[in-house]
Each structure stands twice: as structure tokens, then as C-alpha cells.
């Protein structure tokens, strides 16, 4: 790590171009610093009143370098391991993209996947956001058309890093509209390397969010542009971008609520103008029609409560515009009576709706949408759905989280139409990020933009004092820009800027010393930010989790490839239609890598099916066998980390299985049975006997009691839970061990077929009595089990 520091501080002194060259071939750590400082250099050189050509060349270079830096910072996983799809959900996306490229678009839309959720199956075409797959498939198609033959896997792996470059460009455009070009370039550099966004877009994480953030930022840019210009052209562009966003990610709901909120607040602030009217009316109508073209979304935009705000604001805007029109035509007296009549009618209508909603209890659902999921075990079990501590904020945003309020402050102090938008964006996004960790992703872009505003306004004032006189030129330049785009309606911001520049002229002193100290310290902060970003990316967000790595004391690396070993075994050694039961986390991976039928997977749409699997895992062997027979299970796959100390294994997840099973089958499974009388969850001798004899325990520790890992510990010592297991003599009756991977990480068991019946010692005549016995047994079985699936 010392070396790490060295390389970064070196980079500060070197020229940026050379550095980025190095980073591209190497590890990508150094380039972000170079970019940030070159963003600062830009302000310096524009200060020199170069012709506009220089400015655009520099902007272009910086954006290109930001793209490069962002791209290379995301390659840790590819360099350390290989070009491989990560984690869980990306495997499904990869599998469906693969299906798309092989069978074509229409086949993909109609795809019924009979290999998932056995025996129910899943309609894939109608239950996914197809944007990601279509994007990757299209790129693959174009490349192959140009005879650049790449495998679809490589397209999928590198899609998110490439799109991160597009994200930084659209962030640049948006920030330029909101503040000025310098802030835009800083924002582009920030978002290229900020961990909050890298977490979802490293190479190999082929997930919706990777392209959705680009679509989000670009939609916002086009929206701001259309509000500024009031032209239908930009509004239609905004709709198309919105359409892409809807096709890519469920987070489009954020857009369809934020834009109406913006319009509403503009109305409240009496900033209504014809531009807003044109922009929003076009956006709402065209956007609505386009969004309904996605099969998964369908009629939701006119049915569900999340979309009602947009419709309400649309109606309000029309009413407001109508009133404005009347105001021109009528006398003041007439207008006032009409106005009061209209307002009281509207108030009455709103009041009645609220009463109705309260009566039906819907309003609480509306207000507390964020709270509801917490009480459902299957949602609570996913760690992404937890509220956010300050540490996560700092971890993902570092210096930006402390400075972006300053940017927000500047924006509100110098308010205009589009800055209203960014303020609303910041406040709503920060609220959602506080409620749920995964929504940090929507907060990250706005934090980058506002921090860039804060930093750029500091740099503008403190970077070199010989440029003092030239600052007004720059300001005028951007003012011209504003005017060209938006007419003369931005008087407020313009005035403030002039104010600032006048004072700049009046400014004598502060001294070059103070100025350079401030600049140096700010650059230091940004450098620390870059170091932090690379550290976080390298250590926290670049693990594929399909391949694990461990480090020896001398720093050398061991690759644990147990997952792929086991999945490949399944692929090669089992029947093509074999059904594999596992906990839902591994469903997508089994389908993607082993190409076998699964019972449940990460698309957790059917809770009772998952509960059934949970019940099988937490019952004793014979009860589990009955469930498994009824579900036609051929193999059971579990993850066991006791040998190498891997903490994300099935025993550690086991309580969630019990909880989810208890939710559906409270008579058979009770969570309290799995604890010791003291309320502890233990796997050693003191553990509860029901736990020590349940299927999951038996499968995890089968033959583990014979194994002595090292001389200091007794045989059967579990390294993950630091305990000697309590049940060492495990016999399996209905299952047999089929495969255990090298480090015992994955264990696969084969479910035995039912045994042959005992040979008949009666004469064939007595078959009738035998049959009767058999039926009576079956009826007894059906009566005892309350689940309809069990009645064979």
C-alpha cells in the first residue's frame, strides 16, 4: 500500500497525458488524479483568453481522459481474474442476452423459460426490462456486421465500463447547463471514478443499473434543455431518452416523479412560462405512450399510484395555462370570481379524494411505501434493502458527501429554473438513499454535480491571480451561452454573476500565498478522493464472487474456483433435464453456468415456492425427502464455507430459510426450534437437536467430522463459525454425496430414487389386499400434509 501512495503522489507532479497512458496499460490508479488536476488546469488556461478552439479541444481531451480513466478503473476484476460475468443477477441477464443473440428479438420477447421455477416456469419476455439485453445484442450485431468477431460474453462484460464514459459525458452536459463548463468537466471526472457508481458498473457486472444511470442523466439533461429552450425538439429527445430508461430499469419511476415535481415547484414559485408548458405537455404525453410500449410496464403508467403525480401535475398545468389565457381575456372582477370558484371546486375535489384514499387505507401505503418491505422476510433478507449508515455514505462518496451541500447552497442562492430542478433532485435522492442502501446509486450523480459546482467556484476564485481580469470574459461567455439558448428570462442568475465578477475586479489582495495554499489543499483533498476511489474499487467492488481469491502471508494469491468447478461438473455429468434444488441465491448461476433446471432463483416472484424449498432444507431428512420427491428433485446443491472460512455460506443464511419457511408453514417449522434455550444459534454440541438433524446441517457437515483441518483443532472444526460441530456421525438415507469441490465450497447430493418394494412372499392372488394398503397410505399422507402440491 505504501507503493500505492507513492504512485499517486508521483502522478500529481507528472504531466497528465503520460500518466493516463501508463494507467491504461497498467492498473488505472493514477489517472483520476491527473484528470481532476487537469480539470483545474482548464480553468487556468481559459483564463488566458485563448480562442474558443482551445477551450473545446481541452474539454474534449478531458472528457476523453475521464472516459478512459473510468473505463480502466473498472477493469480490476478482469485483470485479476478474467473476463467473467459477476455475481448473481448478471448471470440471468447474460443468459437472456445469449438467448436473444441466438434466437432473435421476437423469440426473446416470447420466451417462456421452462428451466426456471420448476414446475411452474417463467415468462421471461414479459417480466424483464429488455433494454440491457437489447443494447448488448445490438452492439454484438453491429460488431459482427463489421466483421469484428467478439463473443457475446465480452460485449456483456465490457458494456458497463463503456457506458460509464457515456454517463460522464451526459453529466458534463447537464452540469454545463446548470452552472458552467468548468463545473461540468469536474463533474464528469468525479462521476467517472466515484465508488457509488463504480459499485454497479465494474467490468463483468452486467446489470440494468450500468446503463440506466446513463439514461437517467441524459434524460435529465434533455429535460433541462427543453425547459430552457421550450422547443418541442428537445422535449421529444427527452421522451426518447426516457423511453430508453423505461426499457432499462425500474428506477424510471424516479424520473416520472421528479420531473412533475419540478414543474409543480416552478408553478408554486410563479416561474410558469410557455417553455415549461410546452416541455412538460410534450414530455408527459409522448413519454406516457412510449413507456407503455414496454411489455413489462404495460398499463402501469395509468393504473398505479406511483404514476399519478405526473398525471395530476399535467392536469394542473393545463388548468393553470387556461387561467393564464383567461386572465388576458377577462376583466379583473370576472377573473377573480372565476378563480375563486375554480379553486374551491379543486379544493373540494382534492379533499374528497383524500377522504376516499384514507378510507380505503391507500394513503398510508402511499406515504409509507418505503417501510412496508421491511416486514417481509424475503425482502428483509436482502442486504441491499437496508437503511444507510453514515459510513456507507462516506465510503461511497468520500469528500463529495461533505462538499455537495455547499454546491446546493450556491445553487439555491443563485436560483433559476434549472437549478430548482437540481435542488429537488438532490433533496429527493438524498432522502431515498437514506432509506435504502441500493438507492445510493441515484444519489451519486447529483452529488458529483453539486460537488463539482462547489469545487469549481472555489478554484475559479483561487487559481492564480494574474487571471483575475480575465474572469469576467469567461463569465460573459457563459452568459452569452445562456442567452443564446434561453432568451432573456434568466435575468436573476445573470445578475448575480455580474455581481460576482464586479467584485472580482474590485478584489485586491488576499495575496498569492493564501491563494496558492487554498489551491494546494483543495487539490490534496481531491487527490485523497482519487486514492480513496481506487482503493474502494479495488478492494470492495471488484470481486466477481463467482471466483474467490485468498492471500497468503507472503502476498501471493490463491484462486478458489470451486463454484465454476461444481457448475461445470453438473453440466458434464448430469442428465440434461436434471432438476437441481438449491437456495434461491444460486438459481441464476446454476441456470447460467450449469444449464440445468432450477426450482427457485433470484427473481423471487413466488414466495410460497421458495418457502417450500426452505422447508425442505430445514426439515429432517425423511420429511425433506417427501418434499423433494413431490418436486421431482434430482440433485441438491449447497454452499459450505466451513473448510476455508467463507462466511457467505448456506449455514449462515440458514435462519432466513427457516424464517421464510415459517411464514408459509407455521405449523411445521418454528424458528425457535433452531435456537438453544439461551436463544443462540449454535452448530456445536450445545445446538438444538432439531438443527443438528435437519437436512441442511446434515448435507453441510456430511463426512466433515472425519476431517482434521490442522493440528491445533479437533476433527470437524468449522472455521467459519469457529466451533467443533455437534453431530459428527451423519448418515444419509435418501441422499448420496455426488460431488464435493476442491475446498468443499460446493457440495452436490443426488436424491436417490425410491427403493424397490420388498419382494412379495404371497401368491399373486393377494395383490388386491396390497393395493388397498397402498391407497390407504396415500390418503393418510394427503390428509396430513396441507399443501396441495404434496398430494401426489
Amino acid at each position: 500500500m505504501a507503493e500505492h501512495h507513492g504512485s499517486v503522489s508521483d502522478s500529481k507532479h507528472k504531466a497528465s497525458a503520460a500518466n493516463v497512458g501508463a494507467s491504461f496499460s497498467g492498473n488505472g490508479r493514477t489517472s483520476p488524479v491527473a484528470n481532476v488536476s487537469s480539470g483545474a488546469e482548464r480553468a487556468l488556461s481559459t483564463g488566458l483568453a485563448q480562442p474558443a478552439g482551445w477551450q473545446s479541444l481541452l474539454s474534449f481531451t478531458i472528457l476523453f481522459l475521464a472516459w478512459l480513466a473510468g473505463f480502466s478503473a473498472r477493469l480490476f476484476a478482469v485483470i485479476r481474474f478474467e473476463s467473467i460475468i459477476h455475481e448473481f443477477d448478471p448471470w440471468f441477464n447474460y443468459r437472456s442476452t445469449h438467448h436473444l443473440t441466438i434466437n432473435g428479438f421476437y423469440e426473446f420477447l416470447n420466451w417462456f423459460d421452462d428451466r426456471a421455477w420448476y414446475p411452474l416456469g417463467r415468462i421471461v419476455g414479459g417480466t424483464v426490462y429488455p433494454g440491457l439485453m437489447v443494447t448488448a445484442g445490438l452492439i454484438h450485431y453491429v460488431l459482427n456486421l463489421l466483421h469484428v468477431t467478439v463473443h457475446i460474453r465480452d460485449v456483456c462484460v465490457f458494456l458497463a465500463p463503456v457506458f460509464s464514459g457515456l454517463t460522464s459525458i451526459s453529466t458534463f452536459l447537464l452540469t454545463r447547463e446548470l452552472w458552467n463548463q468548468g463545473a461540468g468537466l469536474l463533474a464528469a471526472c468525479f462521476i467517472a471514478i466515484v465508488p457509488g457508481y463504480i459499485s454497479r458498473s465494474v467490468a463483468g457486472s452486467f446489470d440494468n443499473e450500468g446503463i440506466a444511470i446513463f439514461a437517467l442523466q441524459f434524460t435529465y439533461y434533455l429535460w433541462v434543455k427543453s425547459v430552457k429552450t421550450g422547443s418541442v425538439f428537445w422535449a421529444i429527445g427527452c421522451c426518447l431518452s426516457y423511453f430508453y430508461m423505461v426499457s432499462a430499469w425500474g428506477g424510471y419511476v424516479f424520473i416520472i416523479n421528479l420531473i412533475p415535481l419540478h414543474v409543480f415547484v416552478l408553478l408554486l414559485m410563479q416561474r410558469y412560462s410557455r417553455r415549461v408548458y410546452i416541455a412538460y405537455s410534450t414530455f408527459y404525453i409522448v413519454g406516457l405512450v412510449l413507456s407503455m410500449q414496454i411489455p413489462f410496464v404495460g398499463f402501469q403508467p395509468i393504473r398505479t399510484s406511483e404514476h399519478m403525480a405526473a398525471a395530476g401535475v399535467f392536469a394542473l398545468l393545463q388548468a393553470y395555462a387556461f387561467l393564464q389565457y383567461l386572465k388576458d381575456r377577462l376583466t379583473k372582477q370576472e377573473f377573480q370570481t372565476l378563480f375563486f370558484l375554480g379553486v374551491s371546486l379543486a379544493a373540494g375535489a382534492v379533499f374528497l379524494t383524500v377522504i376516499y384514499l384514507t378510507y380505503t387505507g391507500d394513503i398510508f401505503r402511499l406515504l409509507y411505501t418505503c417501510y412496508i418491505p421491511i416486514h417481509i422476510p424475503i425482502i428483509a433478507s436482502v442486504s441491499e434493502h437496508q437503511p444507510t449508515t453514515w459510513v456507507s455514505f462516506f465510503f461511497d462518496l468520500h469528500i463529495l458527501v461533505c462538499t455537495f451541500p455547499a454546491g446546493l447552497w450556491f445553487c439555491i442562492k443563485n436560483i433559476n429554473d434549472e437549478r430548482v430542478f437540481v435542488a429537488l433532485y438532490a433533496i429527493s435522492a438524498v432522502y431515498f438513499a437514506g432509506v435504502m442502501v441500493r438507492l445510493m446509486l441515484t444519489l451519486t450523480p447529483v452529488v458529483c454535480m453539486l460537488s463539482a459546482v462547489a469545487f469549481s467556484s472555489v478554484f475559479q476564485h483561487y487559481l492564480g491571480d494574474d487571471m483575475k481580469r480575465e474572469i469576467p470574459a469567461v463569465e460573459d461567455n457563459s452568459d452569452d451561452d445562456d442567452k443564446r439558448n434561453s432568451g432573456n428570462l434568466y435575468d436573476k442568475a445573470g445578475k448575480v454573476r455580474k455581481h460576482v465578477s464586479e467584485q472580482d475586479k474590485a478584489e485586491e489582495g488576499l495575496g498569492p500565498n493564501i491563494k496558492s495554499i487554498v489551491t494546494m489543499l483543495m487539490l490534496m483533498l481531491l487527490m485523497m478522493f482519487a486514492v480513496h476511489c481506487t482503493w474502494v474499487t479495488s478492494n470492495a467492488y471488484s470481486s466477481p464472487s463467482v471466483v474467490l481469491a485468498s492471500y497468503n502471508n507472503d502476498g501471493s494469491r490463491n484462486i478458489l474456483d470451486d463454484f465454476r468447478e461444481a457448475y461445470y461438473w453438473l453440466r458434464q455429468n448430469t442428465d440434461e433435464h436434471a432438476r437441481v434444488m438449491s437456495w434461491w441465491d444460486y438459481g441464476y448461476q446454476i441456470a447460467g453456468m450449469a444449464n440445468r433446471t432450477t426450482l427457485v432463483d433470484n427473481n423471487t416472484w413466488n414466495n410460497s415456492h421458495i418457502a417450500l424449498v426452505g422447508k425442505a432444507m430445514s426439515s429432517n431428512e425423511s420429511a425433506a425427502y417427501e418434499i423433494m420427491r413431490s418436486l421431482d428433485v434430482d440433485y441438491v446443491l449447497i454452499i459450505f464455507g466451513g473448510v476455508i472460512g467463507y462466511s457467505g455460506d448456506d449455514i449462515n443464511k440458514f435462519l432466513w430459510m427457516v424464517r421464510i419457511a415459517e411464514g408459509e408453514h407455521p405449523k411445521d417449522i418454528r424458528e425457535s426450534d433452531y435456537f438453544t434455550p439461551q436463544g443462540e444459534f449454535r452448530v456445536d454440541k450445545a445446538g438444538s437437536p432439531i438443527l443438528l438433524n435437519c437436512l441442511m446441517y446434515k448435507m453441510s457437515y456430511y463426512r466433515f467430522g472425519e476431517m482434521q483441518l490442522d493440528f491445533r483443532t479437533p476433527p470437524g472444526f468449522d472455521r467459519t463459525r469457529n466451533a467443533e460441530i455437534g453431530n459428527k456421525d451423519i448418515k444419509l438415507k435418501h441422499l448420496e454425496e455426488a460431488f464435493t469441490s476442491e475446498h468443499w465450497l460446493v457440495r452436490i447430493y443426488k436424491v436417490k430414487k425410491e427403493e424397490n418394494r420388498a419382494p412379495l412372499d404371497h401368491s399373486p392372488r393377494s395383490t388386491i389386499t396390497n393395493k388397498q394398503k397402498y391407497t390407504s397410505k396415500k390418503v393418510w399422507f394427503a390428509l396430513r400434509c396441507d399443501h396441495p402440491l404434496w398430494v401426489v
Binding site: 444507510t388 453514515w390 459510513v391 465510503f395 447552497w409 439555491i412 437514506g434 489543499l521
Partner: protein, 336 residues
């Protein structure tokens, strides 16, 4: 399974029947008395519970109606200490949940004389606590209609908590009585909101001649920053998880304000972070102010240095807190 009767001798059931009859005849008088007593008890309990959904018990009542054998009803007992001088805040919360549950049962359509909710306060029935060897409150116990309470008849408060839904589930488990918990809707939030709205409205109305302050950007900016600071310092996490304010080490009495793990935080800690974030933001604003404001150069220099100091000092402080929570930062951890 199918063939029960074929092999059995006939005389055994008849003999046992005779024995039972004999016993019945022998104790016939006692049986009648018991039945009377039982009916009386049930009637008494019903009367009480029609008056209040949770029956308060003292030592004598407890022994007579809960412990004494002739019973055909289950009794839920909450052992608690509600007197203010006991300072048991958990008891009060648990009591509220228990009341909600008892009311749900009392006013449900399935209400019957099979289940009663009672409470024993320590200050009214200390002897009961001694008798049952109980030394912590609150405790929920179930006394089944037949037999003695088993281990599972004591509610596991530590692990499950005392939400009335959980209690209802446990009761359903022990007695087969399903109670659907109905919480009276909480109007306090709505009323507070209405009050606030009317207050603001009234204020606006009173100052209708001078509405300039609505256009005061500083006020709005302050409000926006408050929201941002509250969220980035994890107040929402506090709101949902309800952590303690700070942790006091019972051994040496040291108070720690910072939680040791990066997965959790204390309320005090989040307040500290809030202040740090605000200080850094203020530093940035001051830096900008120093460069743009008119006035004396010396004063502006001081503002500038103060701003810079705020940013650098408090950011270092924040970083060191983060480092203390995030072990191994910024060094590579062994597991990678």
C-alpha cells in the same frame, strides 16, 4: 392400521368402562361442587373482562383464578412493574402492545370464555413473583386450561420482541386461538400535521402584507441543507433501527460515542457526523464568500483562512473517525 378390532379381547374395554363408572359414582358429589365452582369462576372472569379487556390481579386472585385447578380456560398473564417509581420503560411499551392485543381479542367476533388476558403488577402481587421464582419484568406467561405451564409457555421476549403480532402468533401456537391484531389508527401524526399546516397558514395570513420572507433564499437553502445533513448522517437509519444514544461499558463505566463496527452507529455518533459535515460545508461556503464579498482585505483574509481551516481540520477529523470504524482502511485487508 386398518385392522384394529380383530385381535382384541372383548373384556378389556368393558372392564375399563366399569372402573370409570365406579370412580364417577364415588366422587359424584365432589364433581358437582367443582362444576359449580368452575361456572362461578368463568362467570366472574367474564364479568371482569367485559369491564376491562385486561384483568388486573393481585396475589389472592391470581392463586384462585389462575393457579387453582378447576379451569377450562387459558389465561395469559403479563408480569410487569408499571409503577412510575420502578422506572421500567420497557414495561410500558410492552403494556401498550399487550393492551392492543387484548382489545383486539375483546372486540373480535371470536371472543369467548376460552382465553383471558390478565396482568400482575409487582407492587400488587410481589408474592406471586416469589412463588413463580421470577426476577425480571415484563414476562408473558400462558397458563393452559389443562396441566402446568411448560417451558414454551413462557414467551421468549429477548429474541422475538413484544410486538403484538408476535404475541398473537405465539398465542395461536399455544392455544389455537387466532387473534387478528387490530391497531387503532394513530391520529397523532395527522393531527400534528394539521396543526402545523394551520399554524403556518395562520402565520402567512397574519403577515400577508409582508410576504417577502417567502422569497428569502437563505431560509430555503438552510432548510434544504438541513434535510441533506440529516440524511447523510444516517438519521433515517436511527429512525428505523432505533440504536441507543451511546454505549456505556458496564465494567469500567467508560462511555463510547462511536460504534466500533462499520455496520452500525449510535445516535450520538450520527449527531457528531452531522456537525462535521455541516462544518465542512460551511468552510467551503466561507472560502467562496471570502473571495467574492466586498470589504476590508484583512477581514476577508481571516474569513478565507477560517474557511480553509474548517474544511481541512474537520475533514481530517471525519476521516479519522471513519478510519477507526473501518478497520484496515486504507490498507489492503488480508482477505482482499
Amino acid at each position: 392400521m386398518a385392522s384394529v378390532s380383530s385381535g382384541f379381547p372383548f373384556n378389556l374395554p368393558i372392564a375399563s368402562l366399569l372402573v370409570i363408572l365406579l370412580i364417577c359414582l364415588h366422587s359424584g358429589g365432589g364433581q358437582k361442587k367443582k362444576e359449580n365452582m368452575l361456572a362461578e369462576k368463568v362467570e366472574q372472569m367474564m364479568e371482569w373482562s367485559s369491564r376491562r379487556s385486561v384483568i388486573r390481579m393481585n396475589g389472592d386472585k391470581f392463586r384462585r383464578f389462575v393457579k387453582a385447578p378447576p379451569r377450562n380456560y387459558s389465561v395469559m398473564v403479563m408480569f410487569t412493574a408499571l409503577q412510575p417509581q420502578r422506572q421500567c420503560s420497557v414495561c410500558r411499551q410492552a403494556n401498550e402492545e399487550y393492551q392492543v392485543l387484548a382489545n383486539s381479542w375483546r372486540y373480535s367476533s371470536a371472543f369467548s370464555n376460552k382465553l383471558f388476558f390478565t396482568v400482575v403488577d409487582y407492587d400488587e402481587g410481589a408474592d406471586v413473583f416469589q412463588q413463580l421464582n421470577m426476577n425480571s419484568a415484563p414476562t408473558f406467561m400462558h397458563f393452559p386450561a389443562k396441566g402446568k405451564p411448560k417451558r414454551a409457555d413462557t414467551f421468549d421476549l429477548q429474541r422475538i420482541g413484544f410486538a403484538s403480532e408476535q404475541l398473537a402468533k405465539w398465542i395461536a401456537d399455544r392455544t389455537d386461538v387466532q387473534i387478528r391484531v387490530f391497531r387503532p389508527p394513530n391520529y397523532s401524526g395527522t393531527i400534528a400535521l394539521a396543526l402545523l399546516v394551520s399554524l403556518v397558514g395562520g402565520l402567512l395570513y397574519l403577515r400577508r402584507n409582508n410576504l417577502e420572507f417567502i422569497y428569502n433564499k437563505t431560509g430555503w437553502a438552510m432548510a434544504a441543507l438541513c434535510v441533506v445533513f440529516a440524511m447523510t448522517s444516517g438519521q433515517m437509519w436511527n429512525h428505523i433501527r432505533g440504536p441507543p444514544y451511546a454505549h456505556k461499558n458496564p465494567q469500567n463505566g467508560q462511555v463510547s460515542y462511536i460504534h466500533g463496527s462499520s455496520q452500525a452507529q449510535f445516535v450520538a455518533e450520527s449527531h457528531i457526523i452531522l456537525l462535521l459535515n455541516a462544518a465542512i460545508t460551511m468552510g467551503m461556503v466561507l472560502l467562496n464568500e471570502a473571495a467574492t464579498s466586498k470589504g476590508d482585505v484583512g477581514k476577508r483574509r481571516i474569513i478565507c483562512l477560517v474557511g480553509l481551516g474548517l474544511v481541512v481540520f474537520f475533514f481530517s477529523f471525519l476521516l479519522s473517525i471513519f478510519r477507526s470504524k473501518y478497520h484496515g482502511y486504507p490498507y489492503r485487508t488480508e482477505s482482499g
